[in-house]
């Protein structure tokens, strides 16, 4: 009985709550700045997706990446699916592009020494915006 109860309680922790611990574990907002640099560098260097960033203002994009990572890491944010949808509209993005970005998210977390369990909870959050990004 106890075992069952305990299991149920664990499952009640939402991905957001789990990810929030990643945000704190990484060191909060200052760590996000370092993470954004690593993440954005990976994205720009990837031929599968780099063309989408050719004409974009790097500083503005950097700020957006920070907002995205803050959200994915469970930090304080005001994520709106509407913004994400509007921002990616008309870009004809496919699963390939989404997966490329997700790969770099994982790579960034690995580089920062984040454990697999925490990476999984961050990826869960990131995947939750997939339909918005792909405008599905």
């Amino acid at each position: 009985m106890f075992g069952l109860f305990k299991k149920k309680e664990e499952a009640a922790v939402s991905p957001e709550e789990k990810a929030a611990s990643v945000f704190d574990k990484l060191g909060g907002a200052p760590a996000i700045d370092a993470a954004v640099d690593i993440f954005y560098r990976k994205v720009l260097a990837d031929d599968r997706i780099s063309q989408f960033f050719d004409t974009i203002d790097m500083e503005a994009q950097h700020v957006k990446q920070k907002a995205f990572l803050t959200m994915a890491f469970g930090g304080p944010n005001n994520y709106s699916g509407k913004d994400m949808r509007a921002a990616h509209k008309g870009m004809n993005l496919t699963e390939v592009h989404f997966n490329a970005v997700a790969e770099h998210l994982v790579g960034t977390l690995q580089e920062l020494g984040v454990g697999q369990e925490d990476i999984d909870s961050v990826v869960t959050i990131a995947v939750s915006v997939k339909d918005d990004v792909l405008n599905q």
């Binding site: 907002a29 954004v36 640099d37 954005y40 560098r41 720009l44 790097m58 907002a67 005001n78």
Partner: protein
């Protein structure tokens, strides 16, 4: 400026009270209320977005009082130095006076010197009192109507004038007038300064890469002297100046003199087409040159000035080569003459 701050000091209530002075009115913050929430509650129009310190839409400037550290998280050293902060992440412990944009000063001042720097570029020196950081830019007016922004090549505390390098753009309403007609003794209206591309003292040992094309040298000439002469920067500095042809490069002897009196400064002069023989000018592509000069930009403070396309391309190159985004300062020129 000083009259404004003394006026503010008089008007600000005791330090304990968490009041916010904005646009001529005072708002008292509630417990744990952010500056953004307080100002919005008071009915002010403040642009904002994420409310989480990420989107930077609610960036404001503090003109009086202390900024709590979390309110400047993620801002560049230059932005911090200018007193910028994010209103959504700012829950102050004492009174602050804040503004949406830095108040621009407008002054009218005489031209005290005009020199030809190359076939297309003149150097203008203006005798004006203006508080600025070397590398910032100023709006110059022709007859109070047509205005263009030009970077300052002078350094506050070293030069007792403002210096601008003006390239004559055929058909350009301002530059042709400044180049052809403006004379020593004439008066010119200026407004500013603006811009965040300047030297901030974070680490005096940090290696620096400064690269500029054409009159992109103007802000860099200010920034490099500010770093060396006002702030005694100790780390190695690579200054790369480029032009299409070797005749277009200017201030070469001044730069060589600066390099010979500062062992940590190396000046590299490069051009796509080298015609003039004896000068220390290398024929090279500036992007490849910078890549070979500093293959790993990790830890570098980078300053890039010149045409928009040049700045964008080199910014990306330096970032991919390891420079932190917050360590890259850029001033991109708009070519409307």
């Amino acid at each position: 400026m000083s009259s404004i701050s003394s006026w503010l000091t008089k008007r600000l209530p005791s330090k304990r009270a968490k009041t916010i002075e904005f646009a001529g009115s005072t708002t008292s913050l509630q417990e744990n209320e952010s500056v953004l929430d307080g100002l919005l509650r008071a009915g002010h129009q403040i642009p904002y977005g994420c409310r989480g310190g990420s989107c930077q839409s609610c960036m404001m400037q503090c003109t009086q009082g202390d900024i709590p550290a979390p309110a400047q998280q993620g801002l560049t050293a230059a932005q911090k130095e200018l007193g910028y902060f994010l209103a959504c992440s700012c829950t102050p412990q004492s009174a602050m006076a804040v503004a949406l944009k830095p108040p621009a000063e407008k002054v009218i001042a005489p031209i005290i010197d005009k020199q030809q720097l190359n076939d297309d570029v003149v150097q203008l020196r203006v005798k004006a009192e203006l508080a600025y950081r070397a590398g910032q830019f100023v709006k110059l007016f022709r007859n109070g109507v047509v205005s263009r922004s030009y970077s300052l090549a002078s350094v506050a505390g070293i030069d007792d004038y403002l210096e601008f390098h003006i390239k004559r753009v055929e058909g350009g309403k301002f530059s042709t007038w400044a180049y052809d007609e403006l004379a020593i003794g004439d008066e010119i209206a200026l407004e500013g300064p603006s811009g965040e591309c300047f030297y901030s003292v974070t680490d005096p040992q940090q290696p620096m890469l400064l690269a500029g094309l054409g009159t992109g040298l103007a802000p860099l000439y200010g920034i490099v002297r500010d770093a060396l002469l006002n702030h005694q920067h100790q780390g190695p500095i690579q200054l790369v100046i480029g032009a299409r042809t070797s005749e277009q490069l200017y201030l070469l002897s001044e730069l060589q003199a600066l390099a010979s009196s500062h062992s940590n400064l190396t000046v590299h002069c490069i051009a796509q087409h080298v015609t003039a023989a004896p000068r220390p000018i290398e024929q090279a592509n500036i992007y490849e040159f910078c890549q070979q000069l500093v293959p790993d930009c990790k830890g570098y403070k980078v300053f890039l000035c010149g045409a928009d396309s040049f700045v964008k391309k080199l910014k990306k190159q330096c970032f991919l080569a390891g420079a932190n985004m917050a360590d890259i300062s850029a001033d991109a020129f708009v070519a409307n003459g």
